[in-house]
């Protein structure tokens, strides 16, 4: 029986790594992967609380979040491909189309 605290702690560490990756990387693909990492950390929390409470609501919502993550990544990668056609780059500090 794994203790609740260790599950929460590992998911918190995964979330922190995801936040750090979003903040420090320049490659937009890595940033998208780090967003996925953060969603997974949230999912881990949901599953932990579902086991803790003995109900299945957390697992059902984790499944919904997984579908949402798939939708998000497909839109994000389509945006990356469109931006790459426009700017020839996937570095976020070179994407300044709104600057005029």
């Amino acid at each position: 029986m794994t203790s609740m605290n260790s599950v929460l702690f590992i998911s918190f560490l995964l979330f922190s790594v995801g936040v750090a990756g979003v903040l420090i990387r320049r490659n937009i693909l890595i940033i998208l992967m780090c967003v996925e990492l953060m969603l997974n950390a949230g999912n881990l929390n949901l599953v932990a609380f579902a086991r803790h409470s003995g109900t299945v609501a957390g697992q059902a919502f984790a499944l919904l979040v997984m579908g949402l993550a798939a939708a998000e990544v497909s839109i994000g990668l389509a945006l990356v491909v469109a931006l790459y056609r426009k700017k020839d780059s996937v570095q976020v500090d070179q994407i300044n189309l709104l600057k005029g």
Partner: protein
């Protein structure tokens, strides 16, 4: 054999959690995008193993199918489409990386302090008292798929249907965004 599995069972979660953490660190700090994707894959597989340790079997299989089977392959295709044609990037990290790392570490230390307060308490986490009508007649631990299906198709049918509409919108939107301009 069973007692042996039960005795190592509580350490398996920690092992896979640490592997997931290592994969996440490789994802963030690798210079090559392909190495980052391999770290991402390691992380997702380990998270699926963690779900298994938390007795969420259906979710573990869904994680394997969706992430290892779908999303990683999608990322791999886009990286090969976008990255390989260009010269290597000069700088991997943003200019604000030191400040961002300091901020993230400060937040991590603060939340670790919260964990520290509850870590050694004997009954740090009390059992939640949620209405147990969801899994009625089912054992969530041993009939996982049945219990999850009851959750999705009975109790949370509306979020499920909304998710299906979102997936349809994302499908159409991705096709519209990524197609070339051709009249």
């Amino acid at each position: 054999m069973d007692s042996f599995l039960a005795s190592i069972g509580q350490y398996l979660f920690h092992f896979f959690g640490l592997v997931a953490l290592a994969g996440a660190l490789a994802l963030v700090f690798a210079r090559n995008a392909i190495n980052s994707i391999l770290g991402f894959l390691t992380c997702m597989l380990s998270v699926a193993a963690c779900y298994l340790c938390l007795s969420a079997e259906f979710l573990a299989v869904a994680q394997l199918l969706v992430y290892a089977g779908g999303i990683v392959v999608l990322f791999l295709f886009v990286v090969m489409l976008v990255e390989m044609t260009k010269a290597r990037e000069k700088a991997v990290f943003q200019k604000q990386a030191p400040y961002a790392l300091v901020a993230v570490l400060a937040g991590a230390v603060a939340i670790t302090g919260v964990f520290w307060r509850t870590w050694f308490a004997p009954n740090a986490t009390e059992a939640l008292t949620l209405p147990a009508g969801l899994g009625q007649g089912l054992n969530v631990a041993t009939q996982n798929a049945q219990a999850v299906s009851r959750g999705i198709f009975a109790s949370y049918l509306l979020p499920f249907e909304i998710l299906s509409v979102i997936l349809l919108v994302a499908l159409v939107g991705a096709v519209i965004l990524a197609k070339t301009e051709r009249v």
